[in-house]
């Protein structure tokens, strides 16, 4: 099949190529990058590290890609991470030992937050940026309130497994991302939900004429995003065996949005792909590693990230594409005239 002609395949081309280029660069500057060892029942290596570190953002990006597909955005996922972490830490420190209860409590806390967001956006028609800003600001306060501002630490091997455990040789957060990916993929692509989400994002008015209930769909995507965030928050808490309401998930909402944008999704809504969102998250993490490996001081991290974002955004802009095309055209034109001159002189 012709790759450049098929729009669906073409969407995968650029993000995947970007990730590949970064990986190749890593392999060149540090050949040991691809070394993977199997020791004590788990894999070790830079690649595994990248996967493990990218896990929280990847989880957020899964939910965020659904939200962005409906032409929305969820700024509160970082705060929801903090809330979920704080809630599970609270129950552990209160002596609850049942892992299902602890995780369930964290997820329910996330779900409530998602319902609040979904209600504000779907049913009160408040702009998504504004609606989720409320929980972004208040959520961190609520997270602090739960454990009265303390950084709670705990010792619960079962819960800690979420962040540091190993399953089938892989870090457990990576396994959780894969499971979440599978569930959300099933939910959106083996039912019509994914198509509905894309329809509402692509043309809300036409969707209305076809009888789609945009309110319910928006509610559901904000709930999924919040559940993903809650899971990410519990992984983060399990990782440090404690809950730090101030710093858990701080600014990760922005990384998640970036991951989705780098994955090629339009902020105006429509098409989404959670695979591409995860690739976006991997690109962000790999880029960080590339910077470290290439000997550029880590302080350049943010600057390079910012430049990458601006570049990706510009690539998506129709005007910029047009300008690029004109540039190329002009080059070709001058090349052509040069050729003809050469031909003449010859």
């Amino acid at each position: 099949m012709n790759l450049s002609k098929n729009p669906n395949l073409r969407r995968y081309l650029w993000p995947c190529a970007g990730l590949l280029v970064l990986l190749v660069i890593n392999a060149i500057i540090a050949p040991e990058f691809f070394n993977i060892e199997f020791k004590d029942g788990r894999f070790y290596g830079s690649l595994i590290d990248v996967l493990n570190r990218a896990a929280p953002v990847a989880l957020l990006a899964i939910g965020m890609s659904l939200v962005i597909a409906t032409a929305g955005v969820d700024l509160s996922v970082g705060s929801i991470m903090a809330i979920a972490g704080a809630v599970s830490a609270y129950y552990i420190t209160k002596g609850v030992d049942n892992l299902a209860l602890i995780i369930g409590a964290g997820l329910i806390a996330g779900l409530i937050a998602g319902i609040v967001n979904g209600f504000l956006v779907g049913y009160m028609s408040i702009q998504p940026i504004v609606a989720t800003l409320i929980l972004m600001v208040a959520g961190r306060g609520i997270a602090q309130l739960i454990n009265e501002g303390q950084i709670v630490t705990f010792d619960h091997p079962g819960f800690a497994f979420l962040g540091t455990g190993t399953f089938l040789g892989l870090p457990f957060p990576v396994v959780l991302v894969i499971i979440t990916l599978a569930i959300v993929q099933l939910l959106t692509r083996r039912t019509a939900l994914g198509l509905y989400i894309e329809a509402v994002g692509a043309n809300p008015s036409a969707s209305h004429y076809m009888g789609l209930n945009a309110k319910a769909i928006k509610m559901s995507v904000y709930c999924v995003a919040a559940l993903c965030a809650a899971l990410a928050g519990m992984i983060a808490a399990a990782d440090i065996r404690g809950s730090d309401a101030n710093n858990a998930g701080l600014w990760l909402e922005l990384d998640a949005i970036l991951a989705v944008v780098i994955g090629g999704a339009s902020l105006m809504g429509g098409r989404f792909s959670i695979f591409l969102a995860i690739i976006g998250a991997l690109i962000i993490q790999t880029l960080t590693v590339t910077i470290i490996l290439s000997g550029i001081p880590p302080k350049f991290n943010l600057l390079i990230k910012a430049s990458a974002i601006i570049f990706v955004l510009l690539l998506q802009s129709p005007l910029f594409q047009q300008q690029l095309a004109q540039l190329r055209f002009r080059k070709k034109a001058t090349a052509a005239t040069n050729n003809s001159k050469e031909a003449k002189s010859a």
């Binding site: 098929n6 729009p7 669906n8 083996r190 039912t191 019509a192 939900l193 198509l195 509905y196 894309e198 329809a199 692509a202 043309n203 008015s205 036409a206 969707s207 209305h208 004429y209 076809m210 009888g211 789609l212 209930n213 429509g270 098409r271």
Partner: protein, 498 residues
């Protein structure tokens, strides 16, 4: 009367990527006249206006203002030259005060700062000239559309307008408001301003206009003196029917209709449609005739539950139904192809396949997923059946031509297997080949036992397939034609009668 032209457009062309929207149109506006610009949807009226006001740049032809060629690049340029426009939806700023709206961008200043006292006094004074004595310090949104429109006119004229373009200003006004608008228009005319008046109310054209220019299918039909042009002639020019060569009309057997599939009694909604009856049987097409704004679209939307009806009963498939959203109507077995294909019809980014199966999917419910294989079968089947010109069902629908997009939307509803299909202007803005195919398709569907309601401004079309035609004017039903009565002359008479 002064006959010097103030604004002349000569051989204007405008080409969009997919459409040739104006094909060498001429237009002449004299100083001190009210000149109606008429035409049905897609005739090119609004494109022509946008070319005059600099929103679009012309791709050919000349614009002369007082004999001098002008090249407005944006509305600011046009305004500075003396061409002002007032739109139906009043393009002023609801959040600013009335006075601010009038003087925005040219506020009188003192010591570099805006002199609000003077702004408000001047605005008050200016509006008195338009019989408006209102508090100019309140936000514009505090006033009715009619008042806002007058404010917009006042702003336009005060900015030294030579030419004032009124784009459907009366669409949302009541009779008294229209009269006061006319008074103002005559006033301005007496002051030597040339007014272009776009409307779809023919009564209003005859009430105030001196001359009429008619556009159809991106071309100029002609320029006429209002006094010497009869109403049926005018409608003939607009709808383009020279009352000949109408194709074979084979009136379907209407009497055989035992029990109606859809019986609507007294359906209505305030300011939208006065109570209207309509009955549709299996295997027949009911045509809705009328000009733009006559209530055609409104009737379709009310039946389908897009707008909630306030009065009347709907009986469908032997049951009384009360739709509160399109979803209910779809579940009951209806489908609606809306008039504005781009805004309400296609899901631009999504593929042809997805656009086609969505309505069926929604009817089935989200958990009963139509498998990819089944989707492809459905899509391929309809691509073949409706001869949709595409190489690939995975192509985004926005890449298709208008006619093919329309066929995809039709396929969308056919795939949902409805018993009643409502088509609102199914042939608007599509090329002649596709046009004929869609008409053929409607006949075929009808033969297969589907019931259809088709709203159209193409009389030829209605005559070709309708077994009865309902004529609407000014948001109410004025006639119902059956059998031999269905011919362009009679439909036109029903539309025109006053």
């Amino acid at each position: 009367m002064n006959t010097t032209p103030v604004l002349q457009l000569k051989g204007i062309h405008k080409i969009f990527p997919s459409v040739h929207a104006l094909k060498g149109v001429n237009f002449t506006l004299r100083a001190g006249e009210i000149h109606a610009l008429l035409g049905e949807n897609g005739a090119g009226k609004s494109t022509l206006i946008k070319v005059m006001t600099g929103v679009y740049q012309r791709d050919g032809g000349d614009i002369l203002l007082d004999g001098q060629p002008i090249f407005p690049n944006n509305t600011g340029d046009a305004q500075a030259l003396g061409v002002s426009t007032v739109y139906q939806e009043v393009n002023l700023l609801p959040n600013l005060t009335v006075a601010q709206n009038i003087y925005l961008g040219r506020e009188p200043r003192r010591f570099g700062l805006i002199n609000w006292g003077k702004v408000n006094r001047d605005a008050q004074e200016l509006l008195k000239g338009y019989d408006l004595d209102i508090d100019v310090t309140l936000p514009l949104s505090s006033y009715s559309i009619a008042v806002q429109q007058l404010i917009a006119i006042a702003r336009g004229v005060d900015m030294s307008a030579k030419v004032l373009i009124l784009d459907e200003p009366t669409a949302s006004l009541d009779a008294d408001e229209v009269q006061s608008l006319f008074r103002i228009m005559r006033d301005l005319k007496a002051r030597g301003i040339g007014i272009v008046f776009v409307t779809h109310f023919l009564d209003q054209v005859y009430a105030v206009c001196d001359r009429i220019t008619v556009l159809r299918s991106a071309q100029l039909v002609g320029e006429f003196e209002t006094a010497t042009l009869s109403r049926p002639e005018l409608i003939g020019h607009m709808l383009g029917k020279e009352l000949a060569a109408l194709g074979e009309h084979k009136p379907p057997v209407t009497s055989a209709c035992g029990d109606a599939l859809l019986t609507v009694k007294g359906i209505g909604r305030t300011a939208t449609l006065s109570p209207t009856d309509i009955q549709v049987c299996k295997g027949e097409v009911v045509g809705l005739a009328g000009l733009l704004g006559s209530g055609r679209t409104e009737l379709c939307r009310l039946i389908f539950g897009v707008d909630k009806k306030q009065a009347g009963t709907v009986n469908f498939n032997g049951k009384e139904v009360n739709f509160s959203s399109p979803r209910d109507a779809i579940t009951a077995g209806m489908g609606l192809c809306p008039e504005d294909r781009k805004h309400d019809g296609i899901l631009g980014q999504l593929s042809i396949r997805e656009n086609m199966i969505l309505a069926r999917q929604i009817k089935q419910g989200w958990w009963k997923f139509i498998s990819r294989k089944e989707q492809e079968e459905i899509a391929n089947q309809y691509v073949k059946e409706l001869s949709i010109a595409t190489s690939d069902i995975e192509k985004p629908i926005e890449q298709l031509s208008g006619g093919n997009q329309q066929k995809v939307i039709l396929a969308r509803w056919l795939a949902a297997n409805p018993s009643l299909l409502i088509l609102d202007e199914p042939t608007r803005g599509i090329d002649i080949g596709a046009h004929a195919e869609i008409i053929r398709l409607i006949r075929k569907l009808c033969d297969q036992g589907l019931a259809l309601i088709v709203a159209s401004s193409e009389l030829e079309e209605l005559v070709a397939f309708s077994s009865s035609v309902i004529v609407l004017r000014d948001r109410s039903k004025v006639a119902e034609l059956e059998g031999d009565e269905i011919n362009p002359q009679q439909i036109m008479q029903a539309i025109a009668a006053s």
